[in-house]
């Protein structure tokens, strides 16, 4: 049976600790072991429990990274980055440039699919996106996670890995679909990739030719040549999908695309509102249903109704 994302992260962490590196975070050894993504190891093995002082915790891990041990920092909810990120962003990401002291650190931020209220829920990779000195990936498959980790181990930058709990059971790889002449091209990020893949199939049934180009790397955004061609050949342009707010990575990527290709690139992201705890006030990433409705609308099919 193929390995899931969960098992992949667990194995990578185990290997990382066996090499003498460390994993830091809060409540790592608590019930659940961070969604089952950590091996059942303790401080003597390199699994370091920090106190609940989040901002200080981020700084402590920066210090460990400065010592060259490539720590993994687990932040259990992406929304907690608001107070874990300051010293990571202002010190670790600048250290190589200002002092020529690299500070390689892998930050795991874990998103959830709603039901967790105003702060913690969806992806927050845009918090880091504005900073130089960071690389951001959002792996949703086992091979992607391995690739992102290997990239980190061969680099001396700060890495932010934007995870999503809903991907943890996934064991399948996700592949791009590119038509020679498409109606529209979807560029989904993070958990929206699964909904986009589902929507793509349904939209094709409606007679639309829909490309899907999966986005692993959020920063640096490398607009590959075949993607450029796919967008240029798409009659109604493209859509960047993200489960962070629109005003961040998604808009930035869309802007980069539009500067290179004379096509309109829209964004479909979280709604510009706070999330509440209950379903009717939650703020979820675009569902397959929403993507179908919106993409049909962008392509001039106005008859699609909400199912």
């Amino acid at each position: 049976m193929a390995k899931t994302v969960r098992e992949t992260i667990k194995d990578i962490t185990h290997q990382h600790l066996k090499q003498g590196s460390r994993c830091y975070g809060q409540c790592l050894t608590a019930v659940g072991w961070v969604g089952g993504t950590l091996p059942k190891l303790y401080e003597k093995d390199g699994m370091i429990e920090l106190s609940m002082a989040d901002v200080a915790g981020g700084g402590i891990v920066v210090g460990a990274a400065l010592a060259g041990k490539r720590p993994i920092y687990v932040v259990r909810y992406q929304g907690f980055q608001w107070y874990n990120s300051p010293i990571i962003a202002n010190y670790a990401m600048k250290s190589k440039e200002i002092w020529q002291r690299p500070c390689p650190l892998l930050v795991r931020g874990i998103a959830m699919e709603g039901g967790i209220g105003p702060v913690a829920g969806s992806s927050h990779h845009s918090i880091y996106h504005r900073m130089p000195g960071v690389k951001i990936a959002s792996p949703m498959t086992p091979r992607e996670y391995e690739f992102a980790y290997k990239s980190f181990m061969n680099d001396d930058d700060v890495y932010y890995i934007s995870e999503h709990r809903k991907s943890y059971d996934n064991s399948k790889e996700l592949f791009n679909i590119i038509h020679p002449k498409a109606d529209i091209t979807l560029f989904p990020i993070s958990i929206t990739r699964f909904a986009a893949a589902e929507a793509q199939k349904e939209l094709e049934k409606l007679g639309l030719k829909v490309n899907i180009i999966h986005q692993l790397w959020i920063k640096p955004f490398n607009f590959k040549e075949d993607w450029e061609i796919a967008l240029a050949n798409s009659k109604f342009g493209g859509v960047v999908l993200d489960d962070d707010y629109e005003e961040g990575a998604a808009s930035s990527i869309a802007h980069t695309m539009m500067m290179k290709v004379n096509k309109r690139v829209r964004t479909l992201c979280l709604e510009p509102k706070s999330a509440g705890f209950y379903p009717d006030v939650d703020n979820l990433p675009p569902s397959a249903e929403k993507i179908i409705i919106k993409v049909a609308e962008y392509c001039g099919l106005r008859t699609i109704k909400k199912r």
């Binding site: 106190s51 200080a56 210090g63 460990a64 010592a67 200002i98």
Partner: protein, 248 residues
Amino acid sequence: MFKFPIYLSAGQEYISASIAEVMKELNVQPNIFIQHRGHSTYLAFDAPIERLIDELLGRKSGCANGMGGSASIQSKEKNIFGHDGLMGSQVPIAVGHCYQTQHPTIVYMGDASAEEDYVLGALGWASTKRLPILFVVEDNNLSILTEKKVRRNWNMHNVAEAFNMQGLDIEDDPAQIKQALVSVFEKPMLVNINTHRKFWHSGAGIDDENIFDRYQEQMDILGHEASQIHEQTKQMVEQIWQKQLEKQ
């Protein structure tokens, strides 16, 4: 010439000078996490003055590659790590570095940055892990010009004690500093050292003409020999400045 903020240590030099002497006596080369007002620390631990001057001149050959200015100086040769301008961030960073290396570590902060919440969180964790770390609070009683009594009704040495570590409150008298460091690095320790900043928070102006100047006091006590050393040092520094200015 160009303008940028400069954070002078004059008036506070005895703190780092005394600690550096104690380190020499102990034959310890600590990792040092400096604060924004760090010229005295940089020089006391024998980091190269030429590279500090170059840094103040914005040159690539500066100790922070001409990017750090006065506030973010470092010295790789002397294990001095630069400061990023987020007040107090050096404290959790130092704690994490010390935990990872288990090497004797000194971290400097001012009485204002000591109030940062993440400083307090880092103190607590350092105590929990019983790290070989010395926290030095250079307490000039001022955050820019706002006095400590306006900002808080507690003292840092009491906070350290509450975190189960040794906390001391002393003057920047070399003898007191040496005495305070008798058991340094055996376990975490915080020393709040009361001192006086001679110049403005940023820049070389003077807020108070009558401010106590320990350097001058010591000169007065020590007399002629100290004056001679002062003059020789002044000449030496001026010559180095001149040499660096002439360098292209």
